[in-house]
Symmetry: C2
Subunit: 480 residues, 2 copies
């Protein structure tokens, strides 16, 4: 563990234990540096971490304070997955969750489907039905296997915002980001190869690794800034890793944004070991901060980064429009995309291209970013209110999902089953691991239904947890 995170841990504990209370001034940077025998910049980094968790607040010229209304929930610690390549399991559990969607449910916190009620989406829907009405022929023929040119043109504009300079022919359209990930995995590996992934990580990527007959090596991941570079380097020294698959800008399930310096370091490691990076940027445009951070692809000098994304989190997943900027793997990626599903339906592509060109996309994501940020704060408050006090929660910097780490005595699978009986659905944490770690964790969205209903759902979850706890204590007493 780095010095600054040790220090951050200690400060966090002190705040949580009540040594410092809401509104209190915290020790100065210099004071702490002396006390702990560390550098000024280490203390600054520690404070920055706590600031991100909203545990401290910087006031210009006066130093750091405990905020008046701090949400006071700690982040989970750096993950510690087993450091060897493993086969991915748990498909049955993923499928069960995928099929668990019900119209009648009270609140479905298990999926990662954006809120699509905003009227800023209207022009897109209008354009789509008008295309279907007036230009049906274009929707009927085989189109370009690389995707509609007008959309690829607009994508060069969107990706420019994350620092990428691309030509439309550097882009291949896919059936969502899921196909993008699967195609890229196949483009850079052979059966049996090892892929380094975040831990926890997106289950769709884990299952794609399984289906491509690859092994996943889960790298320790810091819930506030991503995959540990040190741990990654150790793994690269020890194993013949073929590619690194990361979701560095608004991670799913943790929500962090990997800092720019760390992105660069990760890219340099990939260069040093001459391997590919598959960068999943699906939530990249949904970061709350503006302008959005650069992608790793922005630093790509030699075409080793395969950037994958889709409109599933920004617009609507049902359109199934994603893309790959495959760098030097373009020929291979085009081939695999062709055999995977041939071309993608054309009209949604044209409609989305028009929507971007006419400014509708920028406007929509501006509105949604604000909307989700507010929703996040309410969600964190709800968790603080209703969940056990030693619950840890990630602090998303974008998107609409967060990660909850319950105290180890809780089983999230059992929680999930019980909650379903009350019409509340959650995603058990084990799906986000190759091998069923994180049994005490869960991912929750904060986009289904309304904030009020979500709060109500959290209350239901909290009550179940309370009962599970009591039940266990009773059983323990009985046994004793």
């Amino acid at each position: 563990m780095t010095l600054y995170s040790q220090l951050a841990d200690r400060l966090r504990e002190h705040i949580k234990l009540g040594f410092f209370k809401s509104g209190d001034k915290l020790p100065s940077v210099r004071q702490l540096a002396n006390e702990h025998g560390v550098s000024i910049s280490t203390v600054q980094e520690a404070y920055r971490t706590l600031e991100m968790e909203q545990l401290v607040e910087a006031r210009p010229k006066s130093g750091y304070f405990v905020p008046e209304t701090s949400h006071v929930i700690s982040m989970p610690k750096l993950s510690r997955p087993p450091q060897r390549p493993l086969d991915v399991s748990l498909w049955e559990d993923v499928l069960n969750m995928l099929l668990s969607r019900e119209k009648e449910a009270f609140c479905q916190l298990q999926h990662a489907m954006p809120d699509m009620q905003s009227k800023t989406l209207k022009p897109l829907l209008k354009s789509l039905y008008e295309l279907n009405k007036n230009r049906p022929h274009e929707g009927m023929v085989y189109g370009d296997v690389r995707g509609d040119y007008s959309l690829r043109e607009q994508l060069t504009r969107l990706t420019a915002a994350s620092g990428c300079i691309l030509h439309p022919n550097d882009i291949v359209i896919t059936s969502g980001c899921q196909e993008a990930l699967s195609v890229c995995l196949k483009a850079v590996t052979k059966g049996g190869d090892i892929i380094a992934v975040e831990s926890p990580g997106f289950y769709g990527a884990m299952q794609a690794i399984k289906a491509a007959d690859l092994k996943a090596l889960e790298i320790p991941t810091d819930p506030s800034n991503g995959m540990s570079i040190e741990a990654l380097q150790l793994a690269l020294d020890q194993w013949p890793i073929k590619a690194i698959l990361v979701t560095p800008t608004v991670n799913n399930p943790l929500g962090y944004v990997m800092p720019e310096e760390k992105k660069k370091a990760l890219y340099q490691l990939a260069q040093e070991y001459d391997i590919a990076i598959i960068e999943d940027d699906i939530y990249g445009d949904m970061v709350y901060e503006f302008p959005r951070p650069k992608s790793i692809k922005a630093y790509d000098e030699d075409g080793r980064v395969l950037l994958c994304s889709s409109f599933s989190k920004t617009l609507a997943p049902g359109f199934r429009v994603g893309w790959i900027a495959p760098g030097r793997y373009r020929n291979n990626v085009t081939h695999i995309k062709y055999v995977s599903s041939s071309m993608c339906p054309t009209l949604p592509q044209i409609a989305i291209a028009n929507f971007i060109r006419q400014g509708g996309y920028d406007k929509h994501i501006r509105v949604m970013r604000k909307h989700y940020k507010e929703a996040r704060d309410k969600m964190l408050n709800g968790i603080k209110t209703y969940f056990p006090s030693d619950t840890l929660v990630s602090y998303p910097e974008g998107g609409f999902v967060l990660w909850v780490e319950l105290p180890e005595r809780y089983d999230a699978v059992k929680l999930s089953e019980k909650a379903q009986e009350h019409g509340v659905h959650v995603a058990p944490g084990q799906l986000f691991s190759a091998t069923g770690k994180y049994r005490n964790c869960l991912r929750l969205n904060y986009c289904d239904r309304t904030p009020e209903i979500r709060l109500e759902a959290l209350k239901i979850l909290g009550n179940i947890l309370l009962n599970m706890n009591t039940l266990e204590t009773k059983q323990q007493k009985k046994r004793a």
Copy 2:
């Protein structure tokens, strides 16, 4: 070679050499049986073969005649591909053809895209546009990964017509038949495995074999009735084949329908060697005969047949709606479909389900079958008129493509290049082989533009062939 095909060959030669002329009565069945020392049924089978080639005509109660207007083009012979598993090549050529589509071209005979002008498609397009207008939300959310239930229900009806008894949950919707084939290949193989395929065979399937890291073993294929069962058995004895991939009902590119007995024999072989059959039925509903022949899946007792199809040839390829009936491989197929591209867009599925339910589908394919049959006869006439007299042509029993085997002195790749300069596109035969055989062959559709334009295109092709021939003769003279 079987007795009946030897006899058919001899009769064919006699007709072609002019021993029997248009309108002539042919020897009676009994007479021929005596002459050649074969059974009555052998002679009948020989005549049946020639009848299918339209070289003879049965007149009730009077025997067999040379038709007044026989197209008098022979079928190509049984193919003779190298009998060992090979890596698939030629991706660059496939890609070039895929990207060669041009709005301005005079006639595009290279693709296999149905004629979509028929007004019987109107209700489908209307329904699609109305769904987009009135129920956009269903088009935006993540749907069932197995596909829309209403469509799967209707598919149990369609597949019943080919003899299959399925439940909606026995079906998985895919992004076209291409995804269906890719998913099935992965569901039943591991890298390095061998797949038995027809020769010639559909290039999309060949390329899927390449992408899945498999080897193709091309089995000798009879242009009038499909993969040779004898050759298949020999191959099964010699190689550890994992699956047989066939398009037995209206083959692409040859157009034959494998007879029922042969389908049964193929299934029994698969049982005997305990391997899977991937059955591509994409043109199955486009057979000219009514009711349509059974699929191999109809004989499937133990779930080893994975039936693949789509609406790309019956309705429109741009919808990208296909499906798999995966039999005993359902769990694996669902997993691979999920990682391959997650769910498919919902609204086209609902629109197609409605179209089937309301009878629009049956009506449309009735109209199209008649339409294509007429187009085939005109096309065969055109080839007879404009192509070298020793050209061989397949005799499609459905669909809208046929296979031309030019005399060996012609190079179809050169023909294709020259023809493109005149705005005429063709599919060079080598794409339909794992390794570039069939350089003197081509596949032509008879659905692009109008019959008149297609005839004109054939004339252009014929002229190029004439010039190629003269040029070659001149060069030969020069060399001599």
